[in-house]
Symmetry: D2
Subunit: 242 residues, 4 copies
């Protein structure tokens, strides 16, 4: 594990963008799985500047690693809708470079990625409960590759999914799909980033505590090429351990 600690959210976001760019400037196909959510908002602002209109970056291919279908709507699910708004549209990424995972093709996700040459990097956020992608405590297990997770997987899951689809229970799907822990671990490199004091406790637990399904991200500490990128607030509880 390599820890990179930056002063604040902005500088952390700049380093995250730099690490992704460092993978992109290659003379070969590059495969990146990237995260939606709130943590990457500023990073995508930076990236859009560096990527938009650059035809020398058409070698970069993008994958989403989870998806929540929205019942009754056509088009993207929650994750791809968010990625499209934050990055793909403003950066004008072409359709040929975007490889959508959804509820219809999730059983092919792992083999498709392998056929494409494997992921060069997967960018992950982390939840205060230790989840990443759709791997929440009580849903997937370490041995799972890309899987579906039922709305009944945990007591609180239905409420989570209703919130994700915008608060309308009629749009709540019966299941979502996610790359599982074993699937994420196949990436050649993992970049996990976190910002803010709310993440300080889980960072210590996930990367310096026991490897247990109760903290799904704890498995990632065993990956041979993982970088943990934090701002000082998120790193507050591990400073004595570095």
């Amino acid at each position: 594990m390599k820890f990179i600690i930056e002063k604040d959210y902005a500088s952390m976001s700049r380093v995250a963008a730099n690490i992704l760019l460092g993978e992109m400037y290659r003379d070969r196909r590059v495969n990146l799985a990237i995260t939606a959510g709130s943590t990457p908002v500023k990073m995508y602002e930076y990236l859009v500047e560096d990527v938009k209109g650059k035809d020398y970056l058409t070698n970069v291919h993008y994958y989403n690693f989870d998806e929540i279908p929205v019942i009754g709507e056509n088009g993207y699910g929650v994750t791809m809708g968010n990625l499209d708004k934050l990055y793909f549209s403003p950066a004008a990424i072409s359709a040929e470079q975007i490889h959508v995972l959804d509820e219809n093709n999730y059983l092919q996700q792992d083999e498709r990625i392998k056929d494409d040459g494997g992921l060069d990097l997967i960018l992950l956020g982390i939840g205060a409960d230790g989840h990443y992608c759709g791997n929440l405590p009580g849903t997937t297990k370490f041995e799972n590759m890309t899987s579906q997770v039922s709305v009944d997987a945990t007591p609180g899951m239905r409420d989570i999914l209703i919130e994700e689809v915008g608060g309308d229970a009629s749009k709540c799907p019966d299941y979502y799909v996610t790359m599982g822990p074993a699937s994420v671990m196949q990436s050649k490199r993992i970049l996990l980033f976190a910002t803010g004091a709310k993440k300080a406790a889980i960072i210590r637990q996930a990367f310096f505590g026991p490897v247990t399904n109760d903290v799904p991200s704890s498995l990632l500490q065993t990956h041979p090429n993982i970088t943990i990128l934090l701002d000082e607030a998120a790193a507050a509880e591990i400073q004595d351990l570095l």
Copy 2:
């Protein structure tokens, strides 16, 4: 995971030697951690032929990944004694290429390997109980780097260690040392091999069952670059899964 299934012990041993040789023929330093025990006996017979006296292979550096000290004796512990007999002496490997792990330096093992550029490959056997290196059920945990394990770690450990040191209880150490699961996972590549029907059940359990500390090798199924090399007898219970 890549599975390689060969007809019998001899052909499996030949492929194991070939995979190691494939790593060795490089124009740079190559770091290999290799296993003692009975599974590799024939592989070392082949390797000695291919390595002995070849000055173009002085770029290869060797590491042992566990050690059982023998009380009252100078010189190598059980593992290094075995490696020396099976390979280092017959292949005439020079002392500069051999990097000994023992009870005195185990706290430096992980940093030393990282400073040396990391392991290019670690060669592992597997026990019928799912252990590899000194990671037996009830001893280390997934999050452990190189560690010591007490003779009191499990009820049967004292008997195991007495047998390992030759049956003489007065030579039994208070603890042995081993690269832990998280430490092994740092290797760029893992090669795990097994022979014979006695290993068939654990192969299925370790690589197609849950990732659990009860089966220490089950963690390895999440490594991004692992090859499982088996003879047909050891692969007997996974043929339906491949």
Copy 3:
């Protein structure tokens, strides 16, 4: 440059096979460009043993790097006909793994290889005149990618080509095709091998003399990852330089 010197043709051929096998045992697509001719005969004998019927090696893809069309005949040209006889047929390599270069598609060869992920290794022989592939003195230049070479390129070329197509002048093509020096240099790794006293002088000239188009293989000494594999007879004139 890494030099590997083996006692005789048989042991040199065994190491060549081992190096190729070392590339093959991967959990991803592997792209190899391989040579026809007399030098590799024994190596292919070894390889056929190790490769035939092994379904765990279907990840390996093969490319020829030059071709001499035979006028009036359907089917393979001289190079592919030779590779088929020496290796593809006896090793039962499937058609999906064989990527034919010929006079019709040579303008796509470099882009096709790049789209396939690039060559992991190209295996080359060397002529007493310093040629490799179809890069003979007076034909291609260092800056050439895959190109055609006219039967009139050099005074002796027509006779060479007539001999290559079996001695019948009516079968002699107007041109042949070859990966050029710049194209060969794009491979991630180069393995060049030679056997016998007839090659001793050119080995010294090509790898310890000036880089000049007069000795096409002299460019290869600048490649960042090249291995020169020789038997003692071929290495006779460089022993003082190693």
Copy 4:
């Protein structure tokens, strides 16, 4: 070859910094050879911002690739003096991370770099005469590793060197040292950058013309992993070729 063309000097310098940073953010030792001169001035301004005080970048090691000794002065030669002023001092790089090449140790440069694991990237500028490092037309040859070049190597060399040492002929050395073409080609990756209309003609000649010692940088077009980074002015004469 991958071509990256940016609008102007500032954006080109930003991408150059990003590519170097992309190499730096690794969980292992990283070896970079970097260039002095005027082209990198703005890139170093950016880099200093991103590197200064970042203890997570102490894994990065720096090498200079040429040196002009200044007679009668202690301390750094021309190149290291320039690098120190532009980058090492303002970025507060520690002495342990800086590996000086000079007239006393140049014969060890290639072996030292190889022992250190090889260069991950070498950053090069290009002169209007096609030179890079100290490889000017009429000085080194493609087959040269790190070498010394005499003040009498070419008719104009003495004047060049006097200018380099500040215009005082009494400080002019008898020779300078440089990594030669074959030495530069050993780097795993090459980044060559150029700015301004004065470089437009040589860019076309070096990367789309013949590979010849008359244009030392022409050899670099054969490297398997080279990126050419230009602003639009420097790319003006190759737009029809891309």
